[in-house]
Symmetry: C2
């Protein structure tokens, strides 16, 4: 473990700070939810999160999850990824290599990728519009090779 790792505060520390600055409280329920979110690198929605927590034998109401999510977004710990099937889907972004999504319009499969050029675009935009840039979300939509074949033979 090098010094870089030691310097990076945990997501819980980040969130504690965030809460203190807003005069809000750190509760066991919030800790449970955050730990669950950061325990995997998968996308999640409120339902999958709730089930994951219950499977560990813990108990938190869905209302608390719904109430926590906007706070985590404000704290830049998670972000909305896409809305599908009537539910918003999220992923955590802190302590996680940033990536973008290539999605198949037919079968909804998702490939992840990164590209440095987007960072440059971001930077220029910040200067041009006088924004403080927080993050970006690049979603490329197409038809995967499997679905292309299906469409050709049909």
């Amino acid at each position: 473990m090098d010094s870089k790792d030691q310097k990076r505060p945990s997501e819980l520390d980040i969130f504690r700070d965030f809460l203190r600055r807003q005069g809000m409280r750190y509760t066991p329920e919030r800790e449970t939810i955050i730990k669950e979110i950061f325990s995997t690198h998968e996308h999640f929605d409120v339902d999958s999160l709730y089930l994951g927590i219950r499977q560990k034998g813990l108990r938190v109401s869905k209302a608390s999850i719904y109430r926590l999510i906007p706070l985590l977004i404000k704290a830049n710990l998670i972000e909305e990824v896409f809305f599908e099937n009537g539910q918003m889907h999220y992923e955590h972004i802190y302590g996680h290599e940033h990536h973008c999504h290539l999605r198949c319009q037919e079968c909804r499969k998702i490939e992840e990728f990164s590209d440095e050029r987007v960072v440059q675009i971001e930077k220029e935009l910040g200067e041009r519009f006088n924004y403080r840039i927080l993050r970006h979300k690049l979603e490329v939509i197409g038809i995967c090779s499997t679905c292309q074949k299906k469409m050709n033979t049909a």
Copy 2:
């Protein structure tokens, strides 16, 4: 009007073709909705679309709008832009200069921009993952100058 313009079929023609290929029917209701969508260059949601149609003295049920939207997406005439306030927002993409969005996380203001580099990224992705690329959606999130000032003085 130059030859390039003459060659580009209207969105109605595109959609008629699309419907025919799927064994679906072209109805006055569908025509009304599409014309409304393509009559402005603004983002829209189901409600604003419905109201716009009624203000022109026309009548189409909301159910028909909800039913048409997935078809227009499949036909690559419109796309989902963002989900906000419990509603999906769309914009038409056919016959319209493509652009991306820079959004302020605080006040939800939106700036539009274009960047050729994303097209290049798209192209490379298509080759790398063997996808037929249809489009992309780049959303950059930040804090606008006005909101930065507010946060500093607070």
